[in-house]
Amino acid sequence: MTVPHAPLTPQAIWAALDTVPDPEIPVVSVTDMGMVRDVQIAQDGAVTVTFTPTFSGCPALHVIRDSIGQAVRDLGAPAVEVRSTLTPPWTTDWIKEDARERLREYGIAPPAPAEDGLIQLQADATRCPRCGSFDVRMTGSFGPTLCKRLYVCDACKEPFEGFKSI
């Protein structure tokens, strides 16, 4: 049985994309991360979604692209094109406020505001997502995914991951 589809609106598409999880951090969606930049519906109903990659070497990019396409097709769109853009480049500043809180609850320290300078020898202050202490040490400047670093909290003794500010 085919479920009748409501007329396609940008709001409906955005709402559907709100449910597409980031494959590497499933507590946040692709829209939470600020990856979806634009949604357009043509006269004939064909949908174009523009998204921007977080890290250029992120191995999850093709999964994200496929999931976005599938979510829009599930709404009954006759054709979907998922375009990628590099401009403006993705920044962690685009991660939504409530998503930052979900990241923290999940055990990942959210990113500090991004800076655009050439070299920072001092990493931004990071707070333990578990106990809130600033008494933390970075134990690895690269984590299990391209977007994260590894830390240990000296207050509660827990290891945790922190988002890079990019």
Binding site: S56, P89, D116, I119, S141, G143
Partner: protein, 260 residues
């Protein structure tokens, strides 16, 4: 935002830009392969992960460059990476050298990261908008590599007499190969004149200003004398062929594979 008038490249300019993009991508691919060789062998788990991250980022950058090339000539990035042999690769000799010890690995990555960061920083101003966009993206990622490897070079140089000796040996071995990174490819001068590509002399000056004080003042290393005349990017060391044989083996054995 209003888009600037699109830059039209002549046929010779286009050919030169393709050469440059390929050279940039080739450096990234080969260095990433060398970094990947440490997987499971790095001194500590965190560094195993770090090098894998850096290698993955560099491959991402290679992908960006090869996508720019695809837009110019329709070439397939995977085919370029996995079916060209040593004679077709245009990487610098610096990245081909065997991975060596940890000091060699970190110092090479540092010297390269500094070059890439400075080059990308300048390329953000490219009059060829697609390249400016790629540079703006990759630059943000490259900063993390440089931050990481700069600290490692310092740590090794100021560590034990043994780590200092190894770091100095690595510098002596790597220094003569550096000039090649700052050598233009055929036709590059014209593109630089049009603001498409950064001026390599200016990049070199900025690189020197960043790297030399770090190596000498901060790390206490001694710079070896400058290298001799650099060969072109078509002349490779004997190390590239075995590297490609390993890197391309699966792709060549299964040319029709669609899922990996």
């Amino acid at each position: 935002m209003t888009a600037p008038a699109p830059l039209t490249l002549s046929e010779t300019q286009q050919a030169a830009l393709i050469r440059k993009l390929t050279a940039l991508a080739d450096d990234e691919i080969i260095l990433a392969q060398r970094g990947g060789e440490w997987t499971g062998h790095a001194p500590i788990l965190e560094e195993d992960i770090a090098l894998a991250n850096i290698a993955q980022d560099e491959l991402g950058h290679a992908g960006l460059y090869l996508e720019l090339r695809r837009a110019l000539d329709g070439s397939n990035p995977d085919q370029l990476a996995f079916t060209r042999d040593a004679a077709g690769y245009t990487c610098a000799r610096l990245v081909e050298l065997p991975r060596g010890d940890w000091a060699f690995t970190m110092l090479r990555q540092y010297l390269y990261d500094a070059y890439e960061a400075v080059w990308l920083d300048a390329a953000r101003q490219s009059s060829y908008v697609p390249l400016a966009e790629v540079a703006a993206k990759a630059f943000r990622e490259e900063r993390f590599h440089l931050q990481h490897t700069a600290l490692w070079v310092e740590r090794l140089a100021l560590g034990t007499p043994e780590s200092l000796r190894r770091t100095q040996d690595a510098l002596n071995a790597l220094w003569p190969h550096l000039g090649q990174l700052f050598q233009p490819v055929a036709g590059e001068a014209e593109l630089t004149g049009d603001g498409v590509l950064p001026d390599l002399n200016a990049v070199r000056v900025r690189w020197d200003g960043l790297v030399v004080p770090h190596l000498t003042d901060r790390c206490g290393l001694t710079l070896p004398p400058a290298g001799a005349e650099q060969p072109g990017r078509e002349q490779h060391t004997e190390h590239l062929e075995p590297l490609l044989a390993e890197m391309q083996r699966v792709a060549r054995d299964h040319p029709d594979a669609e899922l990996w």
